[in-house]
C-alpha cells in the first residue's frame, strides 16, 4: 500500500491538549468552550462577540422577530455560536483565523439571505415592491444566469439555503420534522433527504413566499427532480409565481451538449428579464466574471498549498465557503474578493510558518462523496483524533478554467457558453454526473497530485449516483495501493446514522486496518449524539 511521510508538529499546542473533555452527555451543547491559550482564546471570544452582534442586529428588526416565530427552521439559528464551535475544534493560530474568516462571512451572508426572505415574504414583511424584483433559485444551483443583473435592482433569493441547507448545520434534528411530513404524504424514504426535506418544507408551507418568478435546476438526482416538482407546483398554482426549469445536461463532458446548455442560459435570462422588467447588463456581467476568475485563482492557490506537507485551508469551512462563493455568489458580490484575498494571505502565512492543525499528520486523505450535514465538523475531528489530514473534498474540486472576462462581441457569445459550463459543472453535478471519468479517474488524478494515501469515501446511502460505483472504487483503490475508507451516513437524518456511528467507522478502520492508536484518545468517543 502507498505510504506518506509522517509530519510531526515540533510545537506543542497552546492551551488544553484534549478538547474531547468539553463534551458532556447530559447536555445538548458543549459543557464549556475550549481553552486555546490566552491569545487564541481571546481571538475566539472576539469572534463570538461578532457573531452575537450579527444575530443581535438581525433580531432588532421587528419583521425578523415575526418571521422567527412563524418558521420552525428559524430555531436552528439560535445555535449559530454552537455551530461555529464545531468548526474550530482544536484549532490555533492561522487555522483558527481561517475558519472564522471564512465561516463568519458565510454566516453573515446567510443572515442577510434570511433578512431578504422576510422582507419580501407575503406572511412577514410583505414588501411588495421588493418582492416584485426577487428571483427565487434553488439551493443547489449556480446563479450564473444572474451575473449580468444589477444586484440593487434584481434580488437573487436562494430560499432553500437558510431554510434547509444551513439550518441543518447548526441544529442536527431540525430537518427530521420535514422528512416526516414528506413521508406522511407518501414520498419514499430512500431518496436523498436533502431534497426530500425541501419537499417536506413546501408541503408544510414553511418556505417564505416571495418573488416575481423562480428558476429551478435539474440538480443532481432523482430526489431533487422529485422535490422540484412538488415545490414548483405549489409556487406556480397556489402562489402564482411562475417557475422556469433550467434543464442542464448531465453528461457535461460531452462537447456537443454545450450549445444546448448555452441556449438554456439564454432562455433563463430572457425569463428573468420578462418577469422583473430589468435588462441584462454586459458590463456588470464581465465585472462579475473577473471576480469569478479571481475566486478560481485563489481556490487553485489554496489547493496548491494543500498539496504540500503543510496544508492550511481545508475541511467544512473550505467546502462551505467555496459553496457560497462559487455557487451562491458567482462573482456578483464584490465583498467576496476581500475575503478570498485575506484567506489566501492567512494560508500563505501559515504555510511559511509550517503551522499544523494537529500534533502529527500520519495520513493524507482526499475526501470524496457528500458530507453529512449534521456532522459537518467530522473532518476536523479526523485530523485531531487520528492525524488523517483531509487535503481536499469533492465539493471543492470544481472548475479551474478561466472564463472570458473582457467585453468584446466574441466574448459575449462565449459568455453564454461559460455560464453554461459553470452551471453544468456546478458543485455535486461535476463529479456525481458526467460519467466514469469525473467520478473515478478524477479522484485518482487528485490522489496523485496531492500525494494522498487515503480516500475517505462518504457513502451517502440514499445517493444512487455514488453508491452504484462502490465496487469500482474498491477495485481501483486496491490496484493503486490507496486505502479506501468507507463512511456511511444519511446526509440529513441522524436517526439512521448517529454522529458517533459515523465516527466509529473511521475508528474501526484506523484500529483494525491501519493498526494505529488515536492521537487524541479523548476524541475517539464523543457523547454528542443528542447534542444540537
Amino acid at each position: 500500500m502507498k505510504t506518506v511521510e509522517k509530519v510531526v508538529n515540533p510545537v506543542r499546542r497552546a492551551g488544553e491538549q484534549s478538547p474531547g473533555r468539553i463534551y458532556d452527555e447530559k447536555l445538548k451543547v458543549r459543557a464549556r468552550r475550549e481553552w486555546r491559550g490566552v491569545k487564541d482564546t481571546f481571538y475566539d471570544y472576539t469572534r463570538w462577540l461578532y457573531l452575537l452582534s450579527v444575530l443581535g442586529r438581525f433580531i432588532l428588526v421587528p419583521r425578523n422577530v415575526k418571521g422567527f416565530f412563524r418558521y420552525r427552521w428559524m430555531m436552528s439559528y439560535l445555535f449559530v455560536p454552537h455551530g461555529m464551535d464545531k468548526f474550530t475544534i482544536g484549532l490555533r493560530d492561522e487555522a483558527l483565523r481561517i475558519a472564522h474568516t471564512s465561516f463568519n462571512f458565510v454566516i453573515a451572508d446567510v443572515t442577510q439571505a434570511i433578512a431578504n426572505c422576510f422582507r419580501g415574504d407575503r406572511r412577514v414583511g410583505n414588501d411588495k415592491a421588493y418582492s416584485d424584483k426577487c428571483v427565487i433559485t434553488d439551493e443547489n444551483s449556480m446563479v450564473t444566469f444572474m451575473m449580468g443583473f444589477d444586484r440593487d435592482k434584481v434580488h437573487t433569493i436562494l430560499r432553500e439555503v437558510p431554510t434547509m441547507f444551513a439550518s441543518n448545520i447548526f441544529h442536527q434534528f431540525n430537518v427530521m420534522h420535514y422528512l416526516d411530513i414528506a413521508q406522511q404524504y407518501g414520498i419514499p424514504g430512500d431518496v436523498c433527504p436533502m431534497p426530500e426535506a425541501e419537499a417536506g418544507i413546501s408541503i408544510e408551507d414553511d418556505f417564505c413566499v416571495l418573488g416575481c418568478c423562480a428558476v429551478q435546476n435539474n440538480t443532481t438526482c432523482d430526489g431533487s427532480l422529485m422535490g422540484n416538482g412538488i415545490i414548483a407546483k405549489r409556487l406556480d398554482r397556489e402562489y402564482g409565481i411562475p417557475t422556469f426549469q433550467l434543464a442542464t445536461p448531465l453528461r457535461h463532458k460531452e462537447p456537443d451538449v454545450l450549445e444546448y446548455a448555452a441556449q438554456e442560459i439564454r432562455n433563463a435570462i430572457a425569463f428573468v428579464e420578462e418577469h422583473t422588467g430589468e435588462k441584462w447588463d454586459w458590463d456588470l456581467y464581465f465585472k462579475a466574471a473577473r471576480r469569478v476568475n479571481y475566486a478560481t485563482k485563489c481556490r487553485i492557490a489554496q489547493l496548491e498549498i494543500n498539496s504540500t506537507p503543510y496544508p492550511q485551508f481545508f475541511g467544512a469551512a473550505f467546502s462551505l465557503y467555496n459553496d457560497t462563493n462559487y455557487m451562491g455568489n458567482s462573482g456578483r458580490d464584490p465583498a467576496f474578493v476581500g475575503i478570498d484575498r485575506k484567506l489566501l494571505e492567512l494560508a500563505e502565512q501559515g504555510y511559511k510558518a509550517k503551522r499544523m492543525y494537529a500534533g502529527e499528520y500520519r495520513h493524507r486523505a482526499i475526501v470524496w462523496g457528500v458530507q453529512p450535514q449534521y456532522v459537518i465538523d467530522m473532518l476536523y475531528w479526523m485530523v485531531q483524533c487520528w492525524g488523517v489530514v483531509p487535503l481536499a473534498d469533492m465539493l471543492s474540486i470544481i472548475n479551474t478554467d478561466m472564463i472570458a472576462d473582457e467585453d468584446t462581441p466574441e466574448n459575449r457569445e462565449q459568455a453564454y457558453r461559460d455560464m453554461a459550463m459553470l452551471n453544468m459543472e456546478m458543485i455535486m453535478r461535476n463529479h456525481t454526473h458526467g460519467g466514469y471519468k469525473v467520478l473515478l479517474d478524477d479522484l485518482w488524478d487528485l490522489c496523485e497530485k496531492m500525494n494522498a494515501d487515503v480516500v475517505m469515501m462518504w457513502e451517502h446511502m440514499s445517493c444512487k449516483a455514488l453508491t452504484g460505483m462502490h465496487g469500482m472504487f474498491e477495485e481501483q483503490g486496491r490496484a493503486r495501493g490507496i486505502h479506501v475508507m468507507w463512511v456511511t451516513h444519511d446526509l440529513c437524518d441522524p436517526r439512521v446514522f448517529t454522529r458517533q456511528a459515523i465516527r466509529d467507522q473511521v475508528n474501526n478502520y484506523m484500529r483494525t486496518v491501519m493498526r494505529e492508536e488515536p492521537l487524541d484518545p479523548s476524541l475517539e468517543n464523543i457523547p454528542d449524539n443528542e447534542a444540537y
Binding site: R33, Y45, L49, F79, I203
Partner: protein, 55 residues
C-alpha cells in the same frame, strides 16, 4: 475638572465589567446552555401553529 478626570476611569471599569461578564458567558457556554433550555418551548410553539399542508 476632577469629575472629568474620572470619566476614563468609569469607562475602563465599564469595559472591564463588560469583559468579565461576557467572557464568563462565553467560556462556560452559558449562551448556548440557556438556548438549549429554550428550544423545547419553541418546538411546542411551532407545533401549535396551524399550517396549510398541500401536495
Amino acid at each position: 475638572m476632577k469629575n472629568l478626570l474620572k470619566i476614563p476611569l468609569y469607562l475602563l471599569l465599564i469595559a472591564l465589567g463588560f469583559f468579565v461578564v461576557t467572557f464568563t458567558v462565553y467560556f462556560f457556554n452559558l449562551d448556548m446552555k440557556a438556548t438549549a433550555m429554550l428550544a423545547p418551548l419553541l418546538e411546542k410553539w411551532y407545533d401549535r401553529l396551524e399550517r396549510k399542508q398541500y401536495i
